[in-house]
């Protein structure tokens, strides 16, 4: 075999290897996975891996993929750009004007990431190789269900008892938080009275004529009843039951049933 032949053969082998990688591109789980695979071909301990060489391998891979018109996912290209940057920082003497980590620091971190991913893969393999429940080790075949028995426990304290007793004992006079309102007419009371009466008020009628007789004499009661009745009339007007009018200030307030 002549030299040219040997060279050609080597070339073919190299191309085949590259193509094998590329054909496999779908099988890689992202750029880091690819880098790890490439790193393993260096056949050294991952801790002694040459990141520079790795970056070159990766970039070559991307170039070849492009040449073969294989579409690479964006993150492969982002990684390629980053590795090209890393490569330049590793090759060029450090630029004192430039901030940020050195090429070595970046390379060391990438090496760490690769080593960590590799370690997790090995851990995963060891984990899956363990004796596993349902495959190597078995649980009880006939578990007996635990029957739930419900007990209801009633609870009452002495305070509950005393409160209950206090409630009964003082039922007649016990009206908590209610003020004494013997001489006050509430809005509810006034509404209650007025509602059935206005049904008959076909013509304008003085509101005061509705005042209950027994509330009309005592001034305090009269005042309360007037106010309550007026408020009630406003409520009824709001509800659309009646109309209200007043000719002038202080003139009698008149109401009338509203039809329809």
């Amino acid at each position: 075999m002549d030299d040219a032949g040997v060279e050609a053969e080597a070339d073919v082998a190299r191309r085949r290897a590259a193509e094998a990688l590329i054909v496999d591109v779908d099988g890689f789980e992202g750029p880091l996975d690819l880098l790890l695979t490439l790193g393993r071909t260096q056949k050294v301990d991952l801790r002694q891996i040459s990141i520079l060489a790795l970056a070159e391998q990766y970039l070559a891979f991307v170039e070849q993929a492009k040449a073969l018109r294989i579409e690479l996912a964006a993150d492969y290209l982002v990684m390629a750009a980053w590795l090209a940057y890393l490569k330049s920082r590793l090759l060029l003497p450090p630029d004192p004007t430039e901030d940020g980590p050195s090429g070595e620091e970046l390379a060391a971190h990438l090496a760490f990431q690769l080593e960590r991913l590799q370690a997790m893969r090995e851990a995963a393999a060891r984990l899956m190789a363990r004796d596993r429940l349902g495959r190597d080790v078995f649980a009880r075949g006939v578990p007996e269900p635990v029957e739930r028995v419900r007990h209801i426990r009633y609870n009452a304290t002495l305070i509950d008892l005393m409160r209950a007793y206090a409630r009964i004992r003082t039922k007649d006079e016990f009206r908590p938080f209610v003020m004494d309102r013997e001489r006050v007419m509430t809005l509810e009371e006034a509404l209650e009275r007025l509602r059935p009466m206005v049904g008959f008020a076909g013509t304008w009628t003085d509101l005061m004529s509705y005042l209950p007789v027994d509330w009309a004499t005592d001034p305090a009661m009269r005042r309360s009843a007037t106010a309550a009745q007026f408020a009630a009339s406003l409520e009824l007007a709001k509800a659309g039951r009646i109309e209200i009018r007043q000719a002038e200030t202080f003139a009698p307030v008149q109401i009338r049933r509203r039809d329809g």
Partner: protein, 217 residues
Amino acid sequence: MAEPGDDDAPGLFEAPPLSEQERMVEAILFASADPVSVADLNARMPHGCDAAQALELLARRYEGRGVALRRVGAAWAFRTASDLGFLMQRDVTETRKLSRAAIETLAIVAYHQPVTRAEIEEIRGVSVSRGTVDQLLELEWIGFGRRRNTPGRPVTYVVPQGFLDHFGLSSAKDLPGLKDLRAAGLLENRPPPDAGDDDDEAQDDMFGGEDDGEDGR
């Protein structure tokens, strides 16, 4: 069966020792969803095993344990020891408050014992349902006293030891009086019109009145 090399070749494959066979039977019966017959056991165990013999050993080993080896028809299974069935129940205790009717009825019995149902109803102002009384009886927070010597001889209710125990009282006389209730802020409304009177007396007048100590308790 008829395959070559499948024939009994004594000595070629030693059967595992009996103690191993016992472990195997134990594991199979433990994991199996259904009872397993001796034939099935033999089929699943290595060649030359004697499941029946292993079962015997195993049954003896589990004698008096928390689980027992049981024969189910022609097959075998582990079952919970029959005296431990109670462990397969889980008691769920729910605490509930007594209904308002129940606690009021209970309070009336406690303060007015012995008291008839009619009296309870009179004091509460509403009728007392049978369910309420039954519930309190069941809780042993009220009990039956003597029958009243009035027409119809109605039963009376009293508070028994169970009530005192639950409420931490040494006797029904230790129940706080109305004065105490007021002091404790449980009666925070204005004093009744005849304030100043001895409340405890008023209480007696009001409720103890008619049947006044008649049973001579």
